[in-house]
Symmetry: C2
Subunit: 302 residues, 2 copies
């Protein structure tokens, strides 16, 4: 079957399914100890997915890589909030979150998806990094991967727009605080869909190369209770964002998704402490003051 | 100043402020080790509060008792969702959540408040219990306290209604699962306000007597890693409820409340595990199967 006769939806779905295999294989190899367990599931209203979870690894305390391909009818209320006529939709995509055990290794999230509603079709997705400690090299290198891909696909893709949309999206309005150091975020890309699909494939293919070098650099750094406490505290912000603000979580809950697959993104262990503030001048304070406020990291020196 | 010439709002506010003192004193005495720290705060739009937090106690791993008295103008969108004309409101109340360290001691929540919007005035509140292990005596005794108070105030107050409203409210729709074993819940009580105030005072005054006997019975029960892991896992449900569903949390976020006071209800340490199910026949499974589904506990034998 040639590209032109096979629908974009089918090809995107196949790409995401294969990407899940490749990413999981790469993460298992990097971890060296734990393996993904797989649960396949069917959605009552139509479709299903393959949830893969890794836990108690040498690197990854908990992580999930979810592939899903769902379709059906949105509730009337939810359908009003999503572009495209009618209530019928399809959604295929991959979503992943990795929570490393070592506080010097950042948490990472990525998501790539293809949706249709009525006659509308679009891609959405992105990748963003949530470090616990400030390492300029890690943040600059991560951002440069996405900048370079975007630049290869310009002008169909606008890096600065996607970078700013990421900063805007991963923001805890209730705390007036960014979730992490950002990356790229895009949604409702509906023009030049074949060229956008090329872009999305380049992004998906680059995920391991964007993240694993950071893992390799930090995984053996020694840490103590102080660093662990800070990591667990900061993970609380991740939970707050995902449960209060995240559209992906909301989409899953509103469209009858599998709850354990939707919430697999939550960290394994989390700490809340009332009115906690790190010591001025500490690396923890540096993260908040110098790394969370949005910056054009890709164009800064390492 | 006689009761009739002092507004209900002023008297309710004074009652809640004094109740915070009495409850904190009783909890400190029960804990025997930790003391509450107090933060007073001002709200930009009007009013303020006294947040009191206890941590690392002999009994209480983390707990908060918040008094607040706020007033101002609601956003247009939020005002549409609250009864009463216009956007001007006042709200005074006390809200508390206690997370004990010992998994055999249940988490407890209570909240009593008086609100006005336009010409409307009403009381709301309630108290509910979230055990980690099944103890019939604790659950029955807790429910009986509230049943007995409601019956003393009948027919202005309807126990069965308040008990069912509690079961309905503290429910995680995304998991189709109750948060705990319930208690009572009421809102928008606007008729016979002086008699409702009597009822609310009886509830507030009874809080320590409803909870501390349970603490006394369970606080010295030995536990191990299994019980601790289960407690941390179940605390995840508490977080999910408070961040996804709780109207009190939402009210605070929507009316520009102090974020650390609103989220002081979150547990100190929480665990999420993918697709976890307790062993069939275990006490953990018994809690889920026999204690979470709503029952008329107050009228069951101990």
């Amino acid at each position: 079957v040639s590209e032109t006769t096979t629908s974009l939806r089918v090809r995107a779905t196949e790409y995401f399914r294969d990407l899940q295999d490749r990413i999981c294989a790469g993460l298992e190899q990097a971890d060296g100890q734990a393996r993904f367990r797989e649960d396949t599931w069917q959605r009552e209203g139509g479709g299903g997915g393959r949830t893969r979870v890794i836990a108690n690894g040498a690197v990854f305390e908990k992580g999930g890589v979810n592939f899903s391909e769902v379709f059906g009818t949105m509730s009337e209320e939810f359908a009003r909030q999503v572009p495209g006529e009618g209530r019928e939709f399809t959604a295929a995509g991959i979503s992943l979150v990795l929570h490393p055990r070592n506080p010097y290794v950042p948490t990472v999230h990525a998501n790539f998806r293809f949706l249709t509603k009525g006659q509308k079709q679009w891609f959405g997705g992105g990748a963003d990094l949530t470090p616990y400690y400030p390492f300029r090299e890690d943040v600059v290198q991560f951002h440069r991967v996405w900048r370079d891909i975007c630049q290869r696909h310009a002008p169909v893709v606008d890096y600065h727009q996607m970078k700013e949309d990421c900063d805007r999206y991963f923001f805890l309005t209730h705390r007036n605080e960014p979730r992490g150091v950002g990356g790229i975020f895009f949604d409702y890309l509906e023009d030049h869909l074949e060229r956008i699909f090329d872009f999305v494939r380049d992004c998906g293919d680059a995920f391991l190369a964007a993240y694993l070098p950071i893992v390799a650099r930090r995984r053996h750094t020694e840490y103590g209770q102080r660093q662990r406490d800070w990591q667990l505290y900061r993970r609380g912000r991740y939970v707050e964002f995902n449960l209060i603000h995240d559209r992906g979580t909301l989409f899953g809950l509103k469209t009858g998704g599998r709850i354990e697959s939707i919430l697999m993104s939550l960290p394994p262990l989390v700490r809340w402490e009332y009115d906690y503030h790190p010591e001025p001048g500490s690396p923890e304070a540096e993260l908040l003051e110098q790394y969370l406020p949005p910056r054009d990291w890709a164009n800064e020196p390492v």
